[in-house]
Symmetry: C2
Subunit: 423 residues, 2 copies
């Protein structure tokens, strides 16, 4: 199955970014260099698959040491990450033909796609199309999602850092609240990202390690949100403790199954709604019913880009999936991605293992039932045991004029070989 000749490698990023996705990129750059007999140039597509369609490529091969260092603490997607997917092959074969032409023109035999399940499945179809056109293409996925909803992986690279930021921020804000509640704010809400899952919301419960008596109520996207049943719980917390802390998954739904809050419906994409606003809406409802001072925080992008506060465990996972993806390509694999497999709890040890892209695509892993208490508002001790190792460890960042040094990196463009492209 091994190729006999040297081939070029293409890397791209897709979907919502994270604080550590560029760490995976750094690992790819480093590891490709370890296989000079297998790999020639390493290209990056700007803006994911769109960069392939538009032949908008950069050359990552000769990335210098300083840039490589910088990538390892740079949030966002250094190559830009598209929220765009190819159409189904039967609906738009021209797209696939174009991708094939670009890959062939640049002698690309390996496509590393650092994205979500859907992007990887598309890439797999590109490989099939290329094979039919006589161009051998290996597709290897590199997982990343702060939502942690990647099935068959102990955790998704990106999640641990988001969880560390969310729990740290909640802990700090709750100390503020505890100082003020007798004469000021009595209810503090914080909104967690996660359209369909409550993984980030779950991480807020880590504050109980330090503040075990906190009246913390978590609204999980996995549980129907019944305001009428919830309100008495808030009243009870205030009566008993003087204050109440509420963590809200942005994607909570009413018992009827509708999203509780929607920032915007998309007219071009039926059935798709931008999440956001659940904490603010709930704060308004509680103000109406409790006549007390209420504050709400919506960290939004802050929770997925906090480079100054990444989890070392998460960072290592992000590096490792990048490294192993390249090794898998070198070994001739196709249509696989590395996932995280836990080896032991105490001490926490993990390894990567390769699985078929098809086995994860379109699966979505909710917070399991035994991570949420029966009445639905609290994390179980099993959940906390799961979370702690994922947020463990820190990685110092360099500083520049008082802020983390996150000056962007640039890469040289690759000369185009084909005419321009438009749909």
């Amino acid at each position: 199955m091994l190729r006999s000749s040297v081939t070029n490698v293409l890397y791209a990023q897709a979907g919502g970014v994270s604080a550590v996705i560029n760490t995976s990129l750094a690992a790819v750059i480093e590891t490709v260099r370890a296989f000079p007999d297998r790999f020639g140039r390493l290209y990056g597509a700007r803006n994911g698959i769109l960069g392939v369609l538009h032949e908008d490529l950069v050359d990552l091969t000769d990335t210098g040491t300083e840039t490589l260092e910088r990538l390892q603490h740079l949030p966002g997607g250094a190559l830009q990450a598209c929220r765009f997917d190819l159409d189904p092959l039967e609906a738009n074969p021209a797209q696939y033909e174009r991708v094939y032409q670009v890959l062939k023109a640049h002698d690309i035999g390996v496509f590393l796609y650092n994205g979500g399940n859907g992007s990887m499945l598309t890439a797999r179809k590109v490989a099939d199309y290329c094979a039919r056109r006589g161009h051998a293409l290996q597709v290897i996925g590199i997982p990343k999602t702060i939502d942690n909803d990647l099935d068959l992986s102990h955790a998704a690279p990106g999640y641990g850092s988001a969880a560390k930021f969310f729990a740290t921020s909640l802990l700090e804000a709750v100390l503020d609240l505890r100082a003020m509640y007798p004469t000021s704010t009595r209810v503090f809400l914080m909104e967690a990202m996660g359209r369909h899952t409550g993984w980030i919301a779950l991480s807020g419960s880590l504050i109980l390690d330090q503040l075990p008596d906190t009246p913390l109520l978590t609204l999980f996207a996995e549980r129907p949100f019944d305001y009428a049943a919830f309100l008495p719980r808030v009243r009870e917390a205030i009566d008993r403790h003087g204050y109440c802390v509420i963590v809200v998954s942005e994607g909570i739904r009413t018992p009827e199954g509708d999203f509780f809050a929607v920032a915007r419906c998309n007219s071009q994409h039926v059935g798709w709604s931008q999440m956001g606003g659940a904490a603010m809406k709930l704060a308004d409802w509680l103000r109406r019913d409790l006549d007390t001072k209420i504050h709400a925080a919506v960290p939004d992008y802050l929770q997925r880009s906090a480079a100054h506060l990444v989890s070392l465990t998460d960072w290592e996972m992000a590096f490792e999936v990048g490294r192993v993806a390249v090794e898998a390509a070198a070994a001739g694999h196709n249509g696989v991605l590395p996932v995280i497999r836990k080896i032991s709890d105490e001490p926490f040890e993990w390894e990567t293992s390769l699985i078929e892209i098809e086995t994860v695509a379109d699966l979505e892993r909710p917070v399991p039932d035994d991570f949420i208490t029966l009445e639905g508002y609290h994390a179980t001790s099993k959940a906390l045991d799961y979370l702690r190792p994922l947020v463990a460890g820190e990685r110092p960042v360099p500083w520049h004029h008082g802020l983390p040094d996150l000056r962007p990196v640039t890469f040289p463009p690759v000369a185009k070989k084909l005419p321009g492209w438009s749909e």
Copy 2:
């Protein structure tokens, strides 16, 4: 003017807390010990002046080394900080008499009030009342406000850390935005605290040191917010750069002088409104007019409690005002507070100087005109020169199970000597 005998000292916190107010407390505890011939016990009032009224005191004198260490990175108010002020003397002399009785009962000759201008002015009146009743009381203020609106001080302790968190978070989020805007979010808003001033909003402009080409528009509380004039600026940014970043002071007002957004009006406090919601409201308006994907972050308490990201400069200022306040008391001063005076720009050097409480009370320092460009949406280079030293330097925190170790500290209660009190 020096007392001949040893007297006890009382310390209290009031008003909105910060990431470094407990650092001032730690400095007070340490410094009181340096004057055994002047000071006896050091007490803390729980929940500010309310703790005095209720004789709810703790003993800080024998605070151990570990607690002293912990205080230096603990956000919130370790003694709780009230949003409550005494009535005017003529309206409620019973309150002043009660305060006097409590101070006398515990032989308190020095009152250190770590709060805002209003609280300090009240404390000054307490001292006058006590003097009339034959009890000598020195009142020394210790400044703190993340809003940085303390007049006559180069900066207020608490501000530098809030600014560092705000600018860091904005920088990270903008890197996320830059990765996604071609196919996703095109406008990102972030809301800054500051009811009447735009000091924290101003700090967002520090991202220009690293991302000088960012299309950043800042809405200062000091400038009327005219949506009709603003909207074309957002369109222009999107047309030219593909995206737009907007920093919103929570306290922006319409050209008619009304707050743009109010979270809640307080029925018990005429004329007072809780700020919050400006970024969300503006995001809604922009969604309506631009039909594009918009995200908004509201860090809320996160920006004033981020213990894991304090500015070392700010931390040192907070420590120093605590230390100098005690020294001022030892030297016999009354009715003063230490403020920060800049000595030199390059290198940045500062010292504390004592000023009369009356000279700052009720003054409120807006962002000066030469810190804001003429059209009103940008910081000037003079503003950036002002900001950089204030956010400079870091101070590592200890960690506990992956989060900053912020486990609260406790202090032994002081036995009550008087009957209970109620209005």
